[in-house]
Each structure stands twice: as C-alpha cells, then as structure tokens.
Symmetry: C2
Subunit: 166 residues, 2 copies
C-alpha cells in the first residue's frame, strides 16, 4: 500500500493551460449597453459539436467531502469540453491529469480556485468530480447534450491511497 | 408627451414563457458523482447554430442605473438566444417585449428576478440591457459567436417617457 498526497497550487491561467481555460475577469472587456456594462467576452473554448452535439446549460450543486479528500477516480468527457463557474463566490478544488489512456499518479495536479474563477476542461482531460470546500456550492455548467458515450471513469488501483493535501 | 410606468411582477417560468426560459433549481435533478452532486440538467434552450454560430461564454458586469429607471430602448438578437445567470445571489430586473418588428408600449412586461434565477431570452425577443439593482452585478452569459449582425435596437419615440415602477 502506498500513500500519495497531491499538493495544491493556486489556480492560474498559465498553470492550467495544459488542461483548459481559467474563466475570470482579470483581463480586458468591451464596454456595452450605453456604457453601463462590461462584457468580458468569449472566456472559454466551448467544444461541443462532435457527433451532432449541442450546448447545454446546467446547475450542479456539490456537497463538500470529508477531509483529507480521498481520490478514488477521475473522469473525462471524450466528446466535449465542460465549463464550470461557481455561484456566490465560493472557493473549490480542481484535480486534473492530462488526456491519456491511463493516469499515472505523477500526472495529477491540484489547484485551488477562488470563487471568482471558473474552469473549462478541454475535451478528454481527466478531472475529479466537483470538489466543494466548506459549504454546498452551486456551479453554472456548460457542456454537451446529444448522442454518444461522453463520460469515462478511471479508477486508481486499490493499493494506492491518494489524497489531496489541503 | 405621455408618461408610462411599467409595473414589475415576480419572475416565474409561467409568466416568462412567451419570452424564453427561467433558469432555476426549483425542479428535479439527477444525482451524479457518487451521490455528492445534484445535476439540474439542461435548463435553457440554447439556440446559436444559425449562420454557423458557436456557443460562447462571457461574464457581464452591470452597473445599476438611477431610479426610476428610464427606458429608452430595447434590443434583440435575431440570430440567437442569450442566457444570463447572476453571480452572488443579487436580484435584478428584466424588461421584455415579444418578438415583433415594432414595440408597442402595451407589450412591455417587467419582472423582478431573484438572485437564484437566470433568464434565457429566446431568439428575437426584445429585452432591455441588464438592469442591476443596488450593486454592480456580474452575470454568466451564454450567447453566440460568429458572423452576421446579431443585435438590433428599437428606440422608443422621444415623446413617450417610459419608466419602470420599482
């Protein structure tokens, strides 16, 4: 039995680039609506066309897990991206591994997102199901509707205990 | 000069049906992620395919206007729907008129959305630019990118003073 603890880094666009987009309002904007509104435009690469897919908008309501958070599996969406943005300014954790057939433990990376950051997982990128922290947290989610199997899971071997160091 | 005051009603899915979807979590959900997450699935009819459009995700940051709110114009998107969901649980106003070439004042309807309700304007539905209330309010916005002129404005005649009764 081996024990692995994944360290948590702050979420930045640069560090997250291999996995997708960080959705945020730190960048430039267009002024619209007679100067009453800032439009932070086109913040994520939404990729949903495969196999006649369509964009769908959802709300996910995630319950915090006991700490330390035990990592048993990751999932990926082979046909689409998947974007999340938290409501009510609540931080959360993100655990990812690059697109591949099998996940090596060394490929795991964990990030702490603040409540004003969303993430958009690129198609095929392995990611842990939502990791709310202190409270139930709701997220706006934009992903794909349509035919085809669009969720795979990877289960880690039972002789490895993986947890997130947070 | 005539003065028109538009009354504000609570936002409900039924009352808003002629204009689009109310995005909310009052309905049923799917249990996902090993029972740790509720998925409120496919909450809006996202309509962005026209003229090779693609879905885009944005954040709009809206400044409140002086009250009573003076209504000078409405806009519509002839090629797509447009969905809004407020961040940080802040209420806002919605002012709409059914899709048509010209807007009669009698066709205006105003709604108060609570901070846990979004709206998705159906293609062609006239709507006022964002109406934040007490504070600057950010919204996740899902609309369309791509070629084509996708915003028209209708300006009311200058001899009519329209305001929102709120």
């Amino acid at each position: 039995m081996s024990n692995i603890s994944v360290k948590v880094k702050p979420l930045t666009a640069e560090a997250f680039e291999p996995y997708g987009d960080v959705i945020h309002t730190d960048g430039g904007y267009l002024e619209i609506n007679q100067g009453t509104c800032k439009r932070f435009h086109d913040l994520a690469s939404i990729d949903i066309d495969e196999n006649a897919g369509r964009p769908i908008l959802n709300i996910f309501s995630a319950t915090p897990r006991p700490r330390p958070i035990a990592v048993k599996l990751l999932e990926r969406h082979p046909l689409s991206s998947q974007a999340f943005f938290p409501l009510e300014n609540k931080p959360y954790l993100v655990l990812v591994a690059a697109a591949s057939e099998k996940i090596e433990v060394a490929a795991l990376h964990a990030f702490l997102a603040n409540g004003r950051q969303g993430v958009n997982y690129r198609r095929g990128v392995w990611h842990h199901p939502l990791l709310a922290l202190d409270k139930e947290t709701d997220f706006i989610v934009v992903d794909r509707g349509g035919d085809g199997e669009n969720c795979n899971e990877f289960h880690f071997p039972e002789d490895i205990n993986i947890s997130i160091d947070y």
